[in-house]
Symmetry: none
Subunit: 216 residues, 4 copies
DNA sequence: CATGAATGAGGTTTCATTCAT
DNA sequence: GATGAATGAAACCTCATTCAT
C-alpha cells in the first residue's frame, strides 16, 4: 500500500482544478458534485482544492469566470475585422465562429451550467448575462441592423431575430452532453449542423434569396 | 386556537406533491432541492412525502413521467387531424402547438430538468429520449418528408432540419427561467417569438418563398 | 446489534443538551469539545443537537445565558432583604451566598469558561461582564460604602476591596476542577474555606476588630 | 527584489517560538490556536515549527516548562535571604515578589493556561501542581507557621490561609486578560491592588493589628 | 393517515503533520 | 536548515429517511 508520490506543482494546479471542476459541474450539476471527486479528477487530494479555492462556491465562480474571460474580446474583434464584408458574410462568419468555439472547447458546457445554477446563484446569472449574453446579442443586433439598412436583410425585430440566430447553436450545446441512450443515432456532425442552420436561417432572412440553392 | 384549514382530500396529495417537486427540481436542480422544501410547498409535513413516494429519486421519476405522459398522444393526434392540410400549414401548426403547450404549462421546465439530471440519472435520459425526443423528431421528419416529396420544401437532411425547427423553442424554455437580472429587457412575448421563428424558418425551407412578405 | 430505542422528548432535550455542553465546555474548553461528545453525554445522536441549536457557537451562547439568567436577580434580592442588618452581617451573608451558589451548582464552572473563551468570543465576555460582573461589583461596593459611612469599615477603595472580597471564591471555582494530581491533599472543604476567608477578610476590614477571636 | 531581512540566529528560534506559542495558547486556548498562527507570530513558516518541536502537544509541554523553570528557585532563595526579618515582613515581601513577577512578565498567563488545559492534559496539571503549586504553598505555610510560633500571627489552618494569601493575585492574573468591554473602568493598577490586599490580609492575620492605619 | 423528532451516512471544511524542493 | 504545497484524519453540519406518537 504505497502512498502515491507527492508532487508540488503550484503553477499548474489552479488550471487543472478549474478544468476538473468545470467538467463535473457541467456533467452532474454543482450540488451533486463532491469536492473529493473534483480533487480526484485533478489528481490531488481532498484538502488541496482548498489551498486554491476558498470554498466550493468560490470554485464555481472561478470556473465561470475562467471560462468566460478569455473569450470575451474574441467576438468583438472578429466583427471589427470583418467590417468590410457584406452583412451576410459577417453574420455567417460570426455564427460560425460561435459554433466553432463551442464545438471544440469545454466552453460548450457553460450555458448548461449557467442555466442549471442560475436559480441557486443569481449573481452568477447576472454576471453571465451582463458579460456574455448582452455582448453577443449586441453583436448580432448590429450586424442585423446594418443588413437591414443596406437592404439585404428583411426588416425585423433585430433583438428577437438575433436570439433565433444563436438559439439552435446553444440548444445543441445544452443538449448534446446527454448520454446517447442507445447509440442508435449518428452523433450529428457539428459542421453539417451549423451549415444547415446558416443556410436555412440566412435564406429566411434575405430579401432576395439566392435562387438556385439546395438546403443542405 | 383556530383549527387548521381542513386538510385536502388525500387523492389530491400526489398531484400537489408532484407539482411542488417539479417546480423546485426545475428551479434548483434535484440535488439542491430538499425534501422538506417540497413538503412545505405542497403544504404537508416532511414525513408525508414518503407516504406517497418511496424515495427522493422515485419522486423524480414520478415527476418526469407525470409531466410527459399526458402530452404524449397529443402531437400525434394533431398531425393525424391535420393530414389534409398542406405540409407548410401542418408544420406551422405543429410547431405552434409545441410552443403553446410549453408556454402555458409548467411543462416548460422539463427540458431543463432532463438536461440537468441526465448525467446523474441516465435511465431518466433514456426514458425521455425514447418517449419524447424520438416521437417529436419522428413527427417533424414525416412532415418534412411529405413536404419535400410534394415539392414544397427544399431537399434537406430532414432529421437535422427537424431539430433546427424546435431548437429555438426548447432553448427559450431552458433559458427563460433565468432571473431577469436588471429587468431592462421586455420579457419577450412568446407569440411574437414563435411567429418570427416560423416565418423565418419556413421561408428558409420553402422552394418558393412567398414573395411579398415581411419578416415580422 | 440492536439500535437503541428512539425517544421523543422535545421538552427535555434543550436542558439536557445545555447541561452536557456546559460540563464539557468547562472541562475541555469550547474548541476541544466535539459536538458528538455533547450529543453522547446527553444521550442523543449527533444530528439531534442541531435540531435545537443552530451551531456550536450558538450552543455556547445558550449555555452561558442559561447559566447566568436564573441567578441574576437572586443577589439583589438578598441585599434588599438583609438591608436591616449591620453591614458586617450583610457582607458576610452576601459572600456566603455567592460561595454556596457556586459550591453546589454546576454554575461553578462558568467563570473558568468565560475566562477561557473571552479571547475567542469577545461578545461573550461583554455579555458576562455587563450582566454579571458589574452587578456583583455594584452590590459589594454598596455594602462596603454603607459600612464605611456608618463607621464600621475602614475607609478604602471600595471597588478594589470589593474585588478582593470575591477573588478567593472565584479563584477556587476556577482552580478546583483541576484533577487532583495525587490525591495527597484533602480536597478543601468549601465551608472551612469560605469561613476562614470571611473571618480574615472582615477582621482586616473592620475599624475595631472583635478582640478575642481565633482565625479559624 | 530585496533580500529578506537576515534570518535570526537559529539559537533564538526556540525562544521566539515558545513566546509566540505561549501568548496564543493563553489568549485563545490550546485547541483554538493553529500552528500556522504560532509560526507567523514568530516570523517563520509553518514547517519550521516542527523542526524544533515534535508536535503541537510537545510545544505545549515546552511552553509550560519554559515558563516555570526559571522561576522555581527564585522564591525559595528569597525566603532564605529574608530569614532574618520578621514573619510579617517576609510574608509581605513574598507576596509582593509573586505579584511583581506576574505583573511584568508574560508568566501572568500561565495559571489561566494550566487551568484551561488541565482537563485535556492531566500530566500538565500534575507537573504544574508538583513543581509550582506545592512549592509555593510550602513557602507560604512555613512563613505562616513561623509567624504563629512567634506569636505574631493568629493560629489558623496554614494551608488554607496560604491559599487565601495568593488567591487574589492569581485570580487577577486569570481574569485581567479579558478584553475590557467598554474601557469604562480604570485598568486597576497592580501596585494599588497588591498593597490593598497586603494591608487587609495581614491586618486580618495579625494578633495585634497596628492600631492607626488606613486600609489604602 | 399525518406529523416532526430523531437518526446517521455523507458532504464541506479545517488543520496538524509530512516531505519535495 | 527552511519553506510551503500536499495530505488525510477528523470536525462541523446537512438532510434523506425512519418511526414513535
Amino acid at each position: 500500500m504505497s502512498t502515491p508520490p507527492r508532487q508540488r506543482r503550484k503553477e499548474a494546479r489552479p488550471a487543472e482544478l478549474l478544468a476538473a471542476a468545470f467538467d463535473l459541474f457541467v456533467a452532474r450539476g454543482f450540488a451533486a458534485t463532491r469536492m473529493e471527486d473534483i480533487a480526484q479528477r485533478a489528481g490531488v487530494s481532498k484538502g488541496t482544492v482548498f489551498l486554491y479555492f476558498e470554498s466550493k462556491q468560490a470554485l464555481l465562480r472561478a470556473v465561470v469566470e475562467d471560462a468566460v474571460l478569455p473569450h470575451l474580446a474574441a467576438g468583438e474583434a472578429m466583427v471589427e475585422a470583418a467590417s468590410g464584408e457584406s452583412p451576410e458574410v459577417v453574420l455567417r462568419q460570426l455564427l460560425l465562429c460561435f459554433a466553432t468555439a463551442l464545438a471544440d472547447s469545454r466552453l460548450a458546457g457553460l450555458p448548461k451550467l449557467i442555466s442549471a445554477e442560475a436559480g441557486n446563484f443569481p449573481e452568477l446569472a447576472t454576471y453571465y448575462h451582463d458579460n456574455v449574453v448582452l455582448r453577443i446579442r449586441h453583436l448580432l443586433v448590429s450586424v442585423l441592423e446594418r443588413g437591414i439598412a443596406v437592404g439585404v436583410f428583411r426588416a425585423c425585430d433585430t433583438t428577437l431575430v438575433g436570439r433565433l440566430a444563436i438559439a439552435p447553436i446553444l440548444f445543441e450545446c445544452m443538449w448534446q452532453r446527454l448520454p446517447d441512450p442507445c447509440g442508435q443515432e449518428p452523433p450529428l456532425s457539428p459542421e453539417a449542423f451549423i451549415q444547415t442552420h446558416l443556410d436555412l436561417f440566412i435564406r429566411g432572412l434575405l430579401v432576395n434569396p439566392h435562387s438556385p440553392r439546395k438546403a443542405e
